[in-house]
């Protein structure tokens, strides 16, 4: 028999479908199957298939809206990268304050990357400036990542009130897909070089982007809560 905590987690995940016409019927049917003794693995399989298939169908039905949501979210990426670069540089101001960005050295297109190379460079300067500066810069990066993630999520949700869950989930997924290869290569580089600097770089990148994705998810929940409270699209 399934543990109630596991059932609650699966049912919570099913809430993704709660704006579909058959949400109550699906949850009721799964509950009835469960009371007849279907396994925990079966219940989770049914939940994941229901959520994944609805997600895929919703994106397919609203391709243009999904594209617009992603375009808006990713278009804000340069503001995020410049903002956190400014914050890191400000945290070490007085020691090595340099112009915000040298576009000759860093092409503008790099501003759209989660692995924006100016950040580790500036963190290197912060590290040389001493532990307090470095720790402050790392903390600032994490806080900015959470705030940016949540803010973009709220913007995307507000632009797509009818499909906010799907488009915010898609945004988080694209972020994860973008981050994973970089995180993998940084981890591999850290493992093969075994240098403290490389390990630190990989750790900061992972922490920063985990904070960013967490922010997106948190923003999604905040939007959902606000929409439920007002009982209409936020």
């Amino acid at each position: 028999m399934m543990t109630s905590r596991s059932a609650m987690a699966a049912t919570w995940l099913l809430r993704y479908l709660n704006d579909t016409p058959h949400f109550d019927s699906i949850v009721g049917d799964l509950e009835e199957f469960r009371s007849e003794g279907r396994s925990q693995a079966w219940y989770w399989r049914q939940t994941l298939v229901a959520v994944a298939s609805h997600f895929a169908r919703d994106i397919w039905k609203h391709k243009l809206l999904a594209f617009r949501g992603l375009a808006v979210a990713w278009a804000l990426m340069p503001a995020y990268n410049l903002g956190r670069l400014l914050a890191v540089k400000a945290s070490i101001a007085g020691r090595s304050f340099t112009p915000l960005l040298d576009f000759g050295r860093t092409p503008a297109l790099h501003l759209f990357e989660t692995s924006f190379q100016e950040i580790p460079r500036s963190l290197g300067v912060a590290r040389n400036a001493g532990s307090p500066h470095f720790l402050a810069a790392c903390a600032i990066l994490v806080v900015i990542a959470v705030i940016f993630g949540a803010a973009t999520s709220l913007i995307v949700g507000r632009l797509h009130p009818q499909h906010h869950k799907t488009i915010i989930a898609l945004y988080a997924l694209t972020m994860l897909i973008t981050v994973l290869p970089n995180a993998g290569s940084l981890t591999l580089a850290a493992y093969s070089s075994r240098k403290f600097g490389s390990v630190l770089h990989a750790l900061i990148y992972c922490a920063n982007n985990t904070a960013l994705i967490t922010g997106i998810v948190v923003g999604g929940f905040l939007y959902q809560r606000a929409a439920e409270r007002s009982n209409r699209p936020f």
Binding site: E32, F33, W42, R45, R57
Partner: protein
């Protein structure tokens, strides 16, 4: 113009005919699982029922909530006259296709 129904949709319509007044998600899913011999997703049953409802091949009504369903009501489905015609037409067409393929009928390649 006739509606095209897929294999899974046809299975659901046949399950509705077999189950009569007791056709809601759980028995429909069980019927298909028993007869097809494979596990099916409850959500896919509802997605197919949705498509069939759009084509006006099935209708539905809400039943009473029950405790074993966590207080959630059953949604009963019923095949419409148009749905029955569709099943008959599909059967006729499929039987025509089967004619002249004796090897397959005997379980051959």
């Amino acid at each position: 113009m006739r509606d095209n129904i897929g294999n899974f949709e046809l299975m659901i319509l046949l399950a509705l005919i077999r189950l009569g007044d007791e056709a809601y998600g759980v028995p429909i899913a069980k019927e298909i699982e028993t007869r097809s011999g494979r596990e099916i997703s409850v959500a896919s049953v509802y997605a197919a029922l949705d498509r069939l409802a759009t084509k006006q091949l099935v209708s539905s009504e809400l039943g009473e909530p029950t405790p074993e369903r966590g207080g959630r009501a059953k949604r009963y489905f019923r095949i419409t006259a148009k749905g029955l015609r569709e099943v008959r037409d599909t059967r006729r067409v499929l039987l025509k296709f089967w004619e002249g393929i004796p090897k397959l009928e005997r379980g051959g390649a």
